[in-house]
């Protein structure tokens, strides 16, 4: 990683950490949700590197969120750190099982299968109401963070800082992953599967491990959302949630690990203001935004970085 990029990253992290104590609570809450959703969008972007579009990352997003809820209710776990670890492990385990099948598929078949899996979970969450709470979902009581039960007022900021730390760690790990042989192999899968097999490597394994890793990211996003909101419901597994992650990914772009996060922050604020000023047509506003994006910035908001660079050069 270049020193300048590290410096910008550290300064951004510190700056974002500081705003948690300054901005109004509702804004901090929106930032927390945006970062959590950004992680799920990053998982979509990760798979897009291999040319795979997943319409089913909500499967792992909801798995992460519900795992936390079950750990609280069934095991009495209250510590946020343990809930995070448990949720990520369970999400990756679910992916390790579904991945055995889905990693064989590409293009529309991969997209539709991933959608099918998440809708199966959605159906189960709705019907098994005696465990899942059905459409009402489950409440998650305020967790302890680092063994401390924070006051309600402080908890919002503490959870925001925890979300920020988790996001930063995930970004660094994914950045390292994308620079590794396996990370490059993902791009190789998109470009030429035949050559990869004729280098003696398994395309299936590359896709499988990327799928499992992406599930861990989405699961992390899910549990962070659950802890910040304090509630889980089946909507987390519904296909529109998965669609939002794809929307966010396209909005931000896929060229950098930061792009989906930027997309998530823009999306979260855009949706909030669209709901405020156009409560009956907010989806139309988002649709219009997507149309403009596809027409003028098909590679997402990350393209703005190059525009700025070009101006600086000229």
């Amino acid at each position: 990683m270049k020193p300048r990029a590290v410096l910008i990253g550290v300064l951004s992290f510190v700056g974002l950490g500081a705003v948690g104590f300054v901005l109004p609570r509702w804004t901090v809450f929106l930032f927390s949700l945006a970062l959590a959703r950004g992680l799920a969008a990053l998982s979509v972007a990760l798979l897009m590197r291999a040319g795979l579009v997943s319409f089913g990352q909500s499967l792992f997003f909801a798995t992460g969120a519900y795992t936390a809820a079950f750990m609280v209710r069934l095991l009495g776990v209250r510590e946020a750190g343990l809930l995070l670890v448990g949720a990520v492990i369970v999400s990756m385990t679910v992916a390790a099982l579904t991945g055995l099948w889905i990693a064989r598929y590409r293009e529309i078949f991969f997209a539709m299968l991933s959608l099918a899996f998440t809708m199966i979970l959605y159906g189960w969450l709705l019907k098994a109401y005696w465990i899942t709470g059905g459409t009402d979902g489950l409440r998650i009581p305020p967790p302890t963070v680092l063994g401390t039960a924070w006051s309600v007022d402080t908890l919002r900021s503490v959870l925001y800082e925890a979300t920020l730390v988790c996001t930063a760690v995930a970004l660094v790990l994914i950045h390292l992953f994308l620079d590794s042989p396996l990370g490059y192999a993902l791009r190789a899968v998109r470009d030429n599967e035949v050559r990869l097999e004729y280098l003696g490597s398994s395309v299936w394994q590359v896709v499988y491990w990327a799928y499992v890793l992406a599930a861990g990211l989405a699961g992390l996003g899910g549990v962070l959302t659950a802890l910040n909101v304090g509630h889980v419901d089946p909507q987390l597994a519904y296909w529109t949630t998965a669609g939002e992650f794809v929307f966010i990914t396209l909005l931000g772009g896929t060229e950098s690990v930061l792009a989906p996060l930027i997309g998530a922050v823009v999306f979260e604020f855009l949706r909030t203001y669209a709901l405020k000023y156009a409560p009956y047509t907010w989806q139309m506003a988002l649709g219009g935004m997507m149309l403009l994006l596809i027409l003028f910035m098909p590679r997402g908001l990350w393209t703005l970085r190059y525009l700025r660079f070009r101006k600086a050069v000229s």
């Binding site: 042989p181 396996l182 490059y184 791009r187 280098l199 491990w209």
Partner: protein, 246 residues
């Protein structure tokens, strides 16, 4: 001399088309064998059968005495058979060096490494050395989709050679390359392959290339080997009967 590749009774049909019928081929260590024949004679099918791309209906394939019939292409590659393609199979959106480094990761069995960087010094230096031998060092940072066809062919071979194969199968290494570039390209390939002790089997349509670079030639027709021997003798016989083979 050790027999590197041996096929017996190798047969494969596609509907009514006989692509390979009772093929019995032996290739000895260090040989450079050319395969010629008209379109549809079964030349590429033979390469596809040997490398596991398509399974045979009948027959056996042995590599270094080991039965490799029906094995997966990546298993066969790991055993020491590498191949190149008529249309170079590259990672178009990666740079030349990144293509080579992925081959290096495969050679070291580290393709599934998820943390340590691909661009590690221990790999970059020898990869650049190999690129330099193929005349591609100056193009190391170019995306491969920007390369001219001759250089794409060279890179395709370089990727295969990075795996340190014992047997290299090349499918029409000079196709799509201008007449002027054919011999320099083959000179470059042979100058690298022969000292490395790699046994080479190449499909070729250009008889001048076969005459100059093959020690032995196999003539395919209708999925069978109809002639096998010294290129000069075999090709003069074949060229005298153009209606049978190209």
């Amino acid at each position: 001399m050790t027999v590197v590749l041996e096929t017996e009774g190798l047969t494969r049909r596609f509907g009514q088309v006989v692509a390979a019928e009772d093929l019995a081929v032996q290739v000895r260590e260090g040989e450079q064998v050319g395969i010629v024949g008209p379109n549809g004679a079964g030349k590429t099918t033979f390469l596809n059968l040997v490398t596991g791309y398509i399974p045979p209906e009948r027959g056996t394939i042995r590599f270094m005495g080991r039965d490799i019939t029906g094995l997966h292409p990546r298993t066969i590659t790991r055993l020491g058979i590498a191949r190149t393609f008529q249309i170079p199979q590259l990672y178009s959106n990666l740079t030349v060096l990144e293509n080579m480094l992925l081959a290096w990761a495969a050679r070291e069995g580290r393709m599934m490494d998820p943390w340590w960087p691909l661009r590690r010094t221990a790999w970059v230096e020898p990869a650049m050395d190999l690129l330099a031998r193929f005349g591609l060092a100056d193009d190391a940072d170019r995306p491969t989709y920007t390369l001219p066809e001759g250089k794409r062919k060279l890179l395709d071979v370089a990727l295969a050679l990075a795996l340190r194969p014992r047997l290299l199968l090349m499918d029409e290494p000079t196709s799509g390359v201008s007449v002027r570039e054919k011999f320099p390209l083959m000179d470059t390939l042979m100058e690298i392959l022969l000292p490395a002790g790699v046994t080479v089997l190449f499909v070729e349509h250009d008889m001048d290339v076969v005459l100059r670079y093959a020690q032995r030639v196999l003539v395919f027709q209708g999925g069978r080997v109809v002639a096998d021997g010294d290129p000069q003798a075999v090709l003069s016989e074949v060229l005298a009967a153009p209606s049978k083979t190209k």
